[in-house]
Symmetry: C2
Subunit: 156 residues, 2 copies
Amino acid sequence: MTKKKPDEFQGYELDDHVCFAIYKANHAFNRFYKPVMKELGITYPQYITLLALFKKDHQRVSELGECLFLESNTLTPLLKRLEEMGYISRTRSQEDERQVIVSLSETGRGLSDGIIDIQQCAFSHLDTPAETIRQLVEQLNEVQAHMIKAKEKVSG
Amino acid sequence: MTKKKPDEFQGYELDDHVCFAIYKANHAFNRFYKPVMKELGITYPQYITLLALFKKDHQRVSELGECLFLESNTLTPLLKRLEEMGYISRTRSQEDERQVIVSLSETGRGLSDGIIDIQQCAFSHLDTPAETIRQLVEQLNEVQAHMIKAKEKVSG
DNA sequence: TCAAATTAAATCGTACACGATTAATTCAAA
DNA sequence: TTTGAATTAATCGTGTACGATTTAATTTGA
């Protein structure tokens, strides 16, 4: 019986801390962006989705899903809300009626100004050298890649 | 008119990438842990909650909320599910009837063995030197702290 | 050519997240 | 001591997430 008792349980410190540190940081970004995005009338996931459309307009639902790591079960209702608010349009492709093309409306494009201001604000508050942030992003992407591989190995 | 047009929109690269990198890494951990936790009959948030209880048993709901960054509106239903499954008990405090004390059951404590194995598996798949991970965690905690401060300044 | 396999999105059920409100208890000040 | 403020959970409504299934359109192969 080499297992620790619950009262002494610390978990495997490092992984425990990485996953929890990421959980906390993600929480913090959510909580920062949520109220400021509310002033634009959108949620944080809707903001992330719009960013993807700012970068590349007229994407299919599955294309958007690939870059956001979401599927139609999550995206469809989210996109319907953005459509109801008039920020995007959803139209069936002519060539392939199965595909739905998501496009920014004029109003939707107009959100980019407010979003730029908010991003600038967030970045300035990070108060961290650009190079440090660049390295952090690189490391996070590595961790992400490793965990995706881990998932494939462990549970398909 | 110095603002970029949507087609050229890149956002403020660094913040954009940090928040998105964290979003993606969090996703990856979620997707790794979800199926393996399912074999134990629990969800990822329930796993995080149990970790907090392994570290300190008999916490109040608000105490748990502080370390998990969650409030009763999220925790109450989650804890009720853990109680229904027999992993914890929820009892009103004798001294202060407003407080609910959350305690691990024998079965709940028994989960720690399986959880240790899973954490070991996750950590080994990270395939990264301990010191590197330690630094990453530190940086993430700094980013988190900065964003919490940013939120306070920007939207109370 | 036309039925079977494949693909894309939508739908459904369950479980978080969270702002806002409510209910019950305790504390505190007049 | 008694009313009003403060505290603690719980409740409610909306919006993600996601596994599993369904529907509709396209592709493939006999």
